[in-house]
């Protein structure tokens, strides 16, 4: 069965590009644009990898809340943060929340796929 990936980014165009590419590699991909949508999907479906942006609205870093939420649920989900922000304090917080990989935007689709692949190897 194909590995399921959840992509969370409020940039629909970007999510769709990720989705198209990852589907072509055989992954099964869902997308969410906002925290509540992602929380709902996580409550009802199982994902092996979550790829999330940190900034999910103009108002703040909802992606970090989501990472915390996933960890509180103790889901066996690998988390990749993809963000344009390289702020050390964000990296530190993401690291404290046991994020599995931190990828700086913009990123090549092939590099993202490599990161996903490398996480799968460490399972």
């Amino acid at each position: 069965m194909a590995e399921k990936i959840l992509i969370i980014d409020d940039d629909e165009q970007l999510s769709n590009a990720y989705k198209e590419y990852l589907c072509s590699l055989g992954y099964q991909v869902d997308c969410a644009q906002e925290v509540e949508e992602a929380e709902t999907l996580l409550a009802h479906f199982s994902y092996s990898v979550v790829i999330t942006d940190l900034r999910l609205s103009k108002l703040g870093f909802g992606g970090l809340d989501l990472v915390r939420h996933i960890r509180e649920l103790a889901l066996k989900t690998r988390i990749i943060v993809v963000t344009g922000y390289g702020w050390p304090e964000l990296k530190a917080e993401a690291s404290a929340q046991q994020v599995d990989a931190f990828v700086k935007k913009p990123t090549r689709l092939s590099d993202l796929a490599k990161t996903i692949g490398s996480l799968a190897e460490t399972v």
Binding site: A32, E36, T40, H44, G62
Partner: protein, 288 residues
């Protein structure tokens, strides 16, 4: 422009309606009592499933807005049913608690389609403890004044408690499947169901047993005096055309012909109606 999932759901055109019959079962005979209208989310998405859809809606605290959207979709679908068939519609308690919006909205939607209100039963769902109880009771009174019947959903679970039974005076107790499944084999479940049946009788209400899976449980329910049953064992929730094909809805509109809803010729009437619903729009969640 970015379209959020919530905005998509708030367009009733993206919702679909299925109907599940509630039967009056007496011995070997079963007779259609009414249909429960059940909403499904946007097709070919994860949110097509009702449990996923409404989980999202509750997380967005958008129950009131989405209930309106559902009412529009359901009223459109009900236009294809024969007028003698009664229909149950689920509404969140929180929605009814918002005065004066929902009841007027429901009334106007039925009226514009010439649907008699006395064929509707409102099933009250998700009665959160924070729900505005006085507002809810006012809403129920206003619905009753219009001829609408009231059902209390998920009786036995969560907030469907004795207070709600007393305060709402429901015509129907919808007994949750949890208590009904495996009834014959479990004396404790039997005791609970018997107590609900006794209570309903004393309060002048009827019990609808949901989720019956076994014929022996169905027979036992009948012996307990519970004759109204809604269960996949008898018929799952189906699109109207499938119910018609099964012969369960005699006299329903031929689904291959243009529906009266479409014949209304209002390509986007809902934008206005949802706009009109602003008085009871809920506050946005604080940013995360």
């Amino acid at each position: 422009m970015k379209t959020t999932l919530l905005a998509t759901i708030l367009d009733p055109h993206h919702l679909s309606v299925r109907f599940q019959p509630i039967f009056l079962v007496r011995g070997e005979s079963k007779q259609l009592h009414c249909l429960e209208a059940l909403i499904r989310g946007p097709r070919r998405t994860n949110f097509e499933r009702a449990d996923v859809l409404f989980d999202y809606v509750r997380r967005k605290r958008a129950e009131a807005l989405v209930d309106q959207s559902c009412v529009v979709a359901i009223c459109d679908a009900v236009m294809n049913l024969p007028p003698e068939i009664r229909v149950n519609v689920n509404v969140h308690a929180a929605t009814l608690g918002h005065k004066p919006g929902f009841v007027e909205f429901f009334h106007s939607q039925a009226k514009r389609r010439a649907l008699a209100l006395d064929r509707f039963t409102i099933e009250i769902v998700e009665h959160a403890p924070t729900c505005n109880i006085p507002g809810l009771l006012d809403g129920i009174t206003a619905l009753r004044d219009l001829g609408v019947r009231i059902a209390l959903d998920d009786v036995g679970l969560g907030q469907s408690n004795y207070r709600m039974m007393l305060d709402c005076h429901p015509e129907y107790f919808k007994l949750d499947a949890y208590f009904v499944r495996g009834l014959t084999a479990d004396p404790k479940r039997r005791a609970v169901v018997e107590s609900v049946a006794t209570l309903a009788k004393a309060l002048g209400s009827s019990v609808v047993a949901e989720g019956v899976e076994l014929n022996q449980d169905l027979a036992l329910l009948g012996r307990m005096g519970i004759e109204l049953v809604q269960a996949n064992l008898l018929c799952p929730a189906l699109p109207l055309e499938d119910l018609v094909a099964e012969g369960l809805v005699p006299g329903a509109m031929d689904m291959s012909s243009p529906s009266p809803a479409r014949a209304l010729g209002n390509p986007s009437p809902h934008a206005f109606e949802l706009e009109a619903a602003k008085p009871f729009a809920v506050a946005a969640r604080p940013p995360s």
